[in-house]
Point group: C2
Chain length 238, copies 2
């Protein structure tokens, strides 16, 4: 007996209605069938229909007006689905040709500050580049506290085929919980300019990656040439 999973009924009602909105059968502004009609159509109780509709309303698919009905709003805009630069960098797999250097170095001041350690404490610096065609499209340095890198391959110049995040999770059961990003416009450093082959302005991203307890797993510095990168963000005005 396979007994394959049936999703709960309220979810079935939700996906059915979402599909009809996507298909244009229910257009924005239209009034949905009343709860009673949906009860009859799907053969479920009103509790179930109401739960489906209220969840859709919370997700922004529809609007409900007391005494009038439920109305289609459309596909919900992802609420500020900002690009997560720090995270995607930590997840990107490496290959042999994008690792520039891996070394044990004294922490520069801004990195030490973010890690909460003294300046010049030794840390692991892992420098990489991203390529777009034959042009270097980004230069990045990942800084790890020694105790994090201990026992991992993060301090070795071999490429991590599954990305930094996976490696930390698999080898030391360290989990990324949240990321703080600071973004500014600046001139590239000499090193970055050399790697990028240009000294025109870059977007500088400085991200601090934390575990659930708030400890710093790594600090990440990213230089994105302004002529190659644009960050987009859409948001609703309340």
């Amino acid at each position: 007996m396979s007994m394959d999973f049936a999703p709960p009924k309220y979810a079935q009602v939700m996906t059915a209605i979402q599909q009809r909105i996507r298909d244009g059968e229910y257009a924005p502004g239209d009034m949905l069938p009343s709860e009673t009609q949906l009860v009859r159509e799907f053969g479920v109780g009103r509790t179930t229909v109401v739960r489906a509709l209220q969840t859709l309303a919370m997700q922004g698919w529809i609007e409900r007006e007391h005494g009038r009905g439920s109305f289609v709003k459309g596909r919900p805009e992802s609420p500020a689905d900002r690009v997560r630069l720090g995270l995607s960098t930590a997840e990107h797999p490496e290959s042999a040709d994008n690792i520039v250097s891996v070394a044990r170095v004294p922490a520069p001041r801004h990195v030490a500050t973010l890690m909460g350690v003294d300046e010049r404490t030794p840390v692991i610096a892992r420098q990489r580049v991203m390529r777009q065609g034959d042009r270097v499209s980004a230069a990045e340095t990942l800084w790890f506290p020694l105790e994090i890198a201990l026992g991992t391959d993060l301090d070795k110049p071999d490429p991590l085929r599954h990305g930094v995040r996976q490696h930390l999770q698999a080898v030391k059961h360290l989990r990324i919980d949240h990321v703080t990003e600071r973004l500014t416009a600046r001139k590239p450093t000499k090193e970055e300019a050399e790697l990028l082959g240009s000294s025109s302005p870059v977007l500088g991203v400085l991200a601090t990656v934390h575990d659930p307890a708030g400890s710093v797993l790594l600090v990440l510095s990213l230089a994105l040439p302004g002529d190659l990168h644009e960050l987009e963000d859409v948001y609703q005005v309340s």
Copy 2:
């Protein structure tokens, strides 16, 4: 009889639990009282308790585990509460000393593209600066389609004491619904460099401001010197 509003019971249960989490009575990781216990404590039906708990879970206050119980996660972090540069610019009141020029000019290419009109269509350009102490901390230009500016004071060089958003709302009942922002690093234009007194890299923000129907109310170009501005963003990793 005043009959003042009592919030619905499920909301009362929610706020009671939220309060206890804020007060530390329920600490992160703690197991909440079971649904049955909450039913007894608040004197409501299980439906009501479940609805409260499920809503709290959706908002990120707690986690529910089938067969084990409900557990405190903590105060939910505001989900990517990004700085809304475009919107705050549209809301900022003006004063006599920060308006640089107001003129009718042909739309430059990137502005025309965003407005969906032909290049060189006449538009209103309203150029302003922001000051921090005695230094100019930002240069911005607001571009309005003629039909939007028509009948408003947007094309007059007098300061709008309540900001552009208020003015559009008050005079023409136009409402801002959503904003699209594109952000990059670049060199300032000659004009911007002159206003800013420096040609070091700037964060360039290009925001398109829409009404509920999707029409463009204005396009906004912002130049923020990189050495004065840093954008910060914190996000949770699912």
